[in-house]
């Protein structure tokens, strides 16, 4: 049996997740941890749940794979009420990644990655082939197969956690502050790789963080939570430029203007007039964001950069005034 037969989601889109007036009250608590949440996550979207510690992000996330049951309300995946499904069967269909990796310390890396395929009874050869594929996907050498989690760095362990969650190519992933314990550089790299994986596989991702910068880097949509309620749901640009209230404004916080720049790509702010051939200027591709460009200008001390298409052909130039006006325009748009 070819490996692809075990990966029913291959080439398909992600799942739709619907929260229909979902609440959860912990016994003994005086208010709901999650309160009356109505939210639809469209297939294939990368959605970040954002909010301060204790606002109910984890509770909301764990209700999707039934590690926590709602007190009231209904959660549907692709239209089907998850209470109608067997919990273990449901969880095998959902990739789940948590902060401290949750790797099984007594299992080798290959066993950790193969946990779900084993539970599903895949034949040995398919499992072995899949483990190799996944190690390639997350950028770890095949030699790591025989190691134990404790023999890997924190970042490597988190990659293995990601590989385990991706093993059966699930149509959705739940990720609870997966990069929260990593150093800044490793975190950035893993964020980029996660984005690349999402672009390639197109599953629905529900990602929890309390870090606004991480949310902006990753999200197609951000859902801001406070005290168990959805305060705002929109694109990162919406959240940054049009915060729904003071709470969101505070959350978005100080570096707002710079964050706005990081949401605009060089291509759209381009000054297309004039002399494109400008030798000696530093070059960026048109999908680089303005924050990166600004950084580059400050570092190199030049007035302008050349913007190129993905093949390296110059399409225009970009200087501080262009960046400034682009930031202003976007800021007053809404």
């Amino acid at each position: 049996m070819p490996l692809s037969d075990h990966l029913p989601n291959s080439g398909r889109h992600g799942s739709r997740i619907e929260f229909d007036r979902v609440s959860r009250v912990y016994s003994g608590a005086d208010h709901a941890a999650v309160s009356d949440v109505i939210l639809t996550i469209e297939p294939g979207r990368f959605v970040v749940l954002l909010g301060p510690s204790g606002c109910g992000k984890t509770t909301l996330l764990k209700m999707v794979n039934r590690l926590i049951e709602p007190t009231s309300g209904t959660i549907r995946i692709d239209g089907e009420d998850i209470r109608q499904m067997n919990a273990a069967t449901l969880r095998r269909r959902i990739g789940y990644v948590i902060q401290q990796t949750g790797l099984f310390p007594h299992m080798r890396i290959e066993e950790n990655i193969a946990v779900v395929p084993r539970l599903l009874g895949w034949p040995k050869e398919s499992i072995s082939q899949r483990v190799d594929e996944l190690l390639d996907l997350i950028g770890l050498p095949h030699a790591y197969r025989r190691r134990y989690p404790a023999q890997l760095s924190g970042g490597e362990q988190q990659r293995v956690g990601l590989a385990r969650a991706l093993a059966v190519d699930p149509s959705m992933m739940l990720m609870d502050e997966p990069f929260g314990a990593l150093d800044a550089i490793t975190r950035l790299r893993l964020q980029d790789e996660l984005l690349a994986i999402h672009r390639q596989l197109g599953q629905t991702i529900l990602f929890v963080t309390h870090d606004i910068d991480e949310a902006i880097r990753l999200a197609d949509e951000i859902v801001v939570l406070r005290a168990g309620q959805v305060i705002q749901h929109g694109s990162p640009l919406d959240i940054v430029t049009a915060p729904a209230d003071d709470f969101v404004r505070d959350l978005v916080g100080g570096g707002e203007a710079l964050r706005r720049l990081s949401l605009i790509d060089a291509g759209s702010a381009l000054n297309r007039n004039g002399n494109v051939r400008n030798e000696g200027l530093p070059a960026v591709t048109s999908d680089a964001n303005l924050r990166t460009v600004l950084n580059l200008l400050l570092q190199t001390g030049t007035q302008k950069v050349t913007v190129t298409d993905e093949n390296g052909a110059p399409v225009g130039t970009l200087g501080i005034p262009d960046i400034w006006s682009a930031g202003l325009e976007r800021g007053t748009e809404s």
Binding site: Y96, G102, H106, V115
Partner: protein, 217 residues
Amino acid sequence: MSFGYLRNNWSRVLDLTIEHIELSALALLVGLLVAIPLTILIVSNTGLRLPLLMGLSAIYTIPSLAFLAFLIPSLGLGRDPAVVVLAAYAQLALVRNFSAGLRGVDAQILEAADGVGMTKTQSFLRVRLPLALPVLIAGLRIATVSTISLATVTAWINAGGLGSLLFDGIARDNPSMILAGTVAIAALALTADLLFRGMEYLTPGARVQRIGRGRTA
């Protein structure tokens, strides 16, 4: 004192050693059959843990000779009452260590086992049990060593084993016989201890701890 008895009667000492092993093994087997359900009970109902362990400690404080004498009216003499007493004494070491081992497994790892879609049985057999195994084997080791040494006393009610050498030696004022019994019991207990320590060392859980301390797998 001399090793004269051991030299001249080594085949009797060997027979008694085998008898001693049989008695201890039987007592441990019965002990396990009781300890395992008790452990499962208090791991799933944590409120019962303290009362049960206190009860088992209370049993442990009963003097062994009194306990044996107490059983003579109902079970008579011989191996049966000895097995009951030894199995009862073993409960404390077994249940305390078994429950500590199972409860000691990181809750986050157990939640990860649920999260990937393991059933309760799969999570127990594939995650909880292997991670608790070093502590479980340690419990078994402690229970075994103490059972081997306690099984000496039960010779007093004709349960056989190496204790006979001690009681006979005292009765006949034969120090060489007492020495032979003592040496054999000590050797047996030490062997059991080493055997279980070896098993502990080989468990995946112990290997993980060695890796954690920076040694290789």
